[in-house]
């Protein structure tokens, strides 16, 4: 079976709707199939990655710690659109620091998040075989 390039596009804020959690579940399931997986966070989707989420008082599951496990599933291409962050008054510092270990480089810890411009992200989307939108 040939490896295909899968892109999961995330455009919704967490908790207000179920899209963010559902996307994460599908990514984790898909990770078992050894495909070339990328994630993109655009628009309100960037809010999914904010650090310090605490859902205790709203009685919903805090699924934000799961993003830091993606590296263990070889999901390490996480594209965050720069313009979307800026429009919302956010910087990379407001997001979780997501890393993965590169087995081809003596398990060196590397950043998973790639901050890209809208134009760069357009090129990344253009390279994909399959795009799933949430």
């Amino acid at each position: 079976m040939s490896v295909k390039k899968f892109m999961y596009v995330n455009r919704k804020a967490p908790y207000g709707t179920i899209y963010a959690l559902e996307s994460l579940e599908v990514v984790l399931i898909g990770a078992a199939f050894d495909q070339d997986v990328s994630l993109a966070f655009i628009g309100d989707g960037v809010y999914q990655l904010t650090k310090g989420q605490n859902t205790e008082a709203i009685g919903q599951k805090n699924f934000s710690p799961t993003y830091s496990a993606l590296g263990d599933y070889d999901v390490n291409k996480i594209y965050v659109e720069k313009e979307s962050l800026e429009e919302r008054g956010l910087t990379l510092d407001d997001l979780q620091h997501l890393v993965w270990e590169d087995e081809d480089d003596d398990w060196a810890e590397k950043d998973s998040i790639r901050l890209v411009s809208r134009a760069e992200l357009a090129d990344v989307l253009d390279e994909q075989d399959i795009i799933l939108s949430f």
Binding site: A13, Y15, G16, D44, Y47, G52, T55, E87, R88
Partner: protein
């Protein structure tokens, strides 16, 4: 007659906040809940609109702000309330307009 308006949509995803702001009179309160809390943070175009709406009081539901990890980015002049505070706001106003 003072209304309590609640907004539960992100201002970046929907025009609900803008519609509410356009129809809210001086003396009324806009309470930001659920994804509406994103309007209550600093450093973007919506924060300017809140700053300029001097006759309107703004409040945000703390539990929804905490869930989204944005307590540290709350704009000045927006009151944080808990669920009890939400109920108090309801009792202090003549009617509630829940924008959906």
């Amino acid at each position: 007659m003072a209304l309590l308006h609640t907004v539960n949509k992100s201002p970046f995803e929907s025009n609900t906040f803008d519609t509410c702001l356009g129809l809210a009179k001086d003396g009324s309160t806009i309470l930001l809940i659920e994804d509406g809390v994103y309007a209550a943070t600093t450093g973007h175009s919506v924060a300017e609109k809140i700053k300029n709406a001097s006759g309107i009081s703004f409040a945000v539901l703390g539990p929804d702000l905490q869930a989204r990890g944005l307590e540290g980015k709350l704009a000045d002049g927006i009151k944080v309330v808990d669920y009890e505070g939400f109920v108090t706001l309801v009792t202090e106003h003549d009617a509630v307009q829940s924008w959906l």
